[in-house]
C-alpha cells in the first residue's frame, strides 16, 4: 500500500509499505477514505519529537471503511464506516474506566520508554513516535486499529467524510480545550492561535456560553476564519498582546485562556522568544514556549489556562511565580477523544456545526509531502489539508 513516511526533518515521502495485518484478536483493518494532516504532525515534520524513525508511517486523523476484524471484535464489522480516534485505548484499565482515554495504562507497548521520559506512560497514539507506541499512522491506504471495540466511532450513512473526519482529533481537542477552560456564561475567553484546533476551540467556547472570544494570530486568512465565528482578533505582529488584552478587558485580563499553539510558538521580537529560538537552533530545547508564558501573564487572577497545544520536552523560563500568585488553574492533556466523539457527532447531526468549514485543501495522498510544506509554511491560504488515499 501507499503511505506517507517520515524520513527525517522536513523529509516526508510517499512509500510503498507492506499492508497491515491483524496481529491481535482485538484488531481491525480499516481502508482509509479520508485522512488529515494535523498541526501536531508538523512537530514531527520539523524534527521536534524524539524517537521518530526513518520509514515511520505518519498520520492520526483518519477515517474509512472496516475491511477486516479480529475474532474478538464485536462492535464493528466489515463494511462499517468509522472515524478513528488518534489515541489508542484498551477500554478496561482504571483510566479508560474513568474515560481518561488518552491516559490508557495498556495501549503503549513502549511504555517503559515513555515512563523514563515522563514518569508515567500515556496512551499509545497512531503515527506519533516510538515513545508513544510505534504504531503506524493513518496517512496511508490501510490502517491496523488496535482495541477496535473501544476506539472507532461508527458513522451513519448520509454524512460526508468531510463533516465527521475531524471527530478523530481536532474537533474533540478544541471542545475539550474549551470545556477544560471551565467557561462560565459571559466569560471572556482568549485563544492563542487561529489554527484548526483553535478554530474549534473558538466555536466550542460559544457552545459553552462564552460572552466574548478573542483570538490571537498573525495569518490573515486564519484570523478571518476566527472573525467568521464572531471572535475578535489580535494580530501579534502589529500589537502587544498583553497591552491589547488588558485594554479590551479593562485591565482585568481574560477569564479563560487557551493555548492552542504549543511548542512552536512565533512572536514579534519578544526577548523570551529570541531566547527560545537560539536554544532551539543549538538543539538545547525542543519547545518554544512563548505563548505559554504570555498566557500565564495575561490570564486574570483566579482564571483558568487550558493547554491543548502540544509540548514535548522541558521548556524553561515559565513564570511559575505568576502562575502561583495569581492562583491560576491549569488544565491540559492529550484529548480523551472517545469521551467526546459521540456527543459531538450528535451536534453535527443536529446541524449545530459543520466541521468541514476548516478545510482549505483536499488532495490525493501522493501530494502529501508537498502539502506538509505548504501547511507548515502557511502558504496558499492553507489551514487544513485532507488527503484522499
Amino acid at each position: 500500500m501507499k503511505a506517507l513516511c517520515w524520513h527525517g526533518t522536513e523529509d516526508v515521502r510517499v512509500n510503498n509499505v507492506p499492508d497491515p495485518k491483524i496481529v491481535d484478536p482485538t484488531d481491525a483493518i480499516v481502508r482509509i477514505t479520508s485522512t488529515a494532516i494535523c498541526g501536531s504532525d508538523l512537530h514531527l515534520y520539523d524534527g521536534f519529537m524524539p524517537t521518530m524513525q526513518e520509514g515511520d508511517v505518519l498520520g492520526h486523523e483518519p477515517m474509512g471503511v472496516v475491511e477486516e476484524v479480529g475474532r474478538d471484535v464485536k462492535k464493528i464489522k466489515k463494511g462499517d464506516r468509522v472515524v478513528i480516534p488518534f489515541c489508542i485505548s484498551c477500554g478496561s484499565c482504571w483510566f479508560c474506566q474513568k474515560e481518561l482515554f488518552s491516559l490508557c495504562d495498556n495501549s503503549n507497548p513502549n511504555k517503559e520508554m515513555a515512563r523514563k521520559a515522563m514518569g508515567h506512560s500515556p496512551a499509545g497514539l497512531f503515527g506519533y513516535s516510538h515513545l508513544l507506541g510505534g504504531f503506524s499512522g493513518g496517512q496511508a491506504q490501510y490502517l491496523r486499529v488496535p482495541y477496535a471495540d473501544v476506539g472507532p466511532l461508527k458513522i451513519p450513512d448520509g454524512i460526508p467524510d468531510e463533516q465527521v473526519l475531524f471527530l478523530s482529533d481536532i474537533f474533540p481537542t478544541g471542545y475539550m480545550a474549551a470545556e477544560q477552560a471551565e467557561i462560565e456564561p459571559g466569560d471572556t475567553v482568549a485563544v492563542w492561535g487561529c489554527g484548526p484546533v483553535a478554530q474549534f476551540a473558538i466555536r466550542s467556547a460559544w457552545m459553552l456560553k462564552a460572552g466574548r472570544v478573542i483570538a490571537i494570530d498573525r495569518v490573515p486568512e486564519r484570523m478571518k476564519m476566527a472573525q467568521d465565528a464572531k471572535a475578535e482578533t489580535i494580530n501579534f505582529m502589529e500589537e502587544d498582546v498583553y497591552d491589547k488584552l488588558m485594554e479590551m478587558t479593562k485591565g482585568r485580563g481574560p477569564d479563560r485562556c487557551i493555548d492552542a499553539v504549543g511548542c512552536e510558538a512565533h512572536a514579534r521580537g519578544a526577548p523570551d522568544a529570541i531566547y527560545d529560538k537560539v536554544k532551539s537552533a543549538v538543539m538545547m530545547t525542543t519547545d518554544r514556549a512563548h505563548v505559554l508564558r504570555e498566557a500565564i501573564m495575561c490570564c486574570r487572577k483566579g482564571g483558568t489556562l487550558s493547554i491543548p497545544g502540544v509540548y514535548v520536552g522541558f521548556p524553561d523560563k515559565v513564570p511559575m511565580g505568576a502562575l502561583m500568585n495569581k492562583a491560576l488553574k491549569v488544565r491540559t492533556g492529550q484529548t480523551h477523544v472517545q469521551h467526546y466523539h459521540h456527543r459531538l457527532l450528535q451536534r453535527i447531526q443536529a446541524g449545530e456545526i459543520d466541521p468541514s468549514f476548516v478545510i482549505t485543501h483536499q488532495v490525493p495522498l501522493v501530494k502529501g509531502p508537498e502539502m506538509y510544506r505548504t501547511f507548515r509554511d502557511k502558504k496558499d491560504g492553507c489551514i487544513k489539508v485532507v488527503l484522499k488515499p
Binding site: 482504571w94 517503559e112 488496535p146
Partner: protein, 152 residues
Amino acid sequence: MTVTADVPTRLTEPTPTQGPAPSHSPPDTRYAPGIGLARGLGWFSIGLGLAELLAPRAVGELTGVRCPGLLQLYGLREIACGVGILNSTRPTEWMWARVAGDALDLGTLGAAMVNGNGDSGRACVAAAAVAGVTLLDVICATQLSAAAALEG
C-alpha cells in the same frame, strides 16, 4: 480523642489498574535508531564474507594475511553476522557480534604486521580500514543498545 466507627476511611493510595489488559497490541515497527546503518553494514558483511570464503588467496594478497583456511572461517563468520542483521528488526546482538569480529580481525592483522614477511605495509592499510568499519559498528551497536535500554 476516640475514633468512632462511622468515620469514613480516607483513601490515600492511588487505585491501580486491576488485572491484565484484554490483549496486548504490539507496535507496528520496533524502535531501532541506526537500523539503516545496520542494514548497510549487514550487506557489507555478506559481501566481505563471500570474498573471504570464495577468494581467500586474493584477500590474503590484499591484507597480508596468508592463511586461506582462517580467512574462509572468518568469511563464514561475516556471512552469519550479515544474515543475522538483515533478518532482525533490531539486530543489537548481531551488531555487537560484528564488533567482536572486528577485534579478532584487528588482532589477526596485528599478527600479520609483526610476522608478515614484507607484507606489513598491506596489513597496516587493511587494519586502518578495519578500524574505520569498527568505529561504524560500535556507533550502530551503541544506538541499538540505547533503544533497547529505553524500552526496558
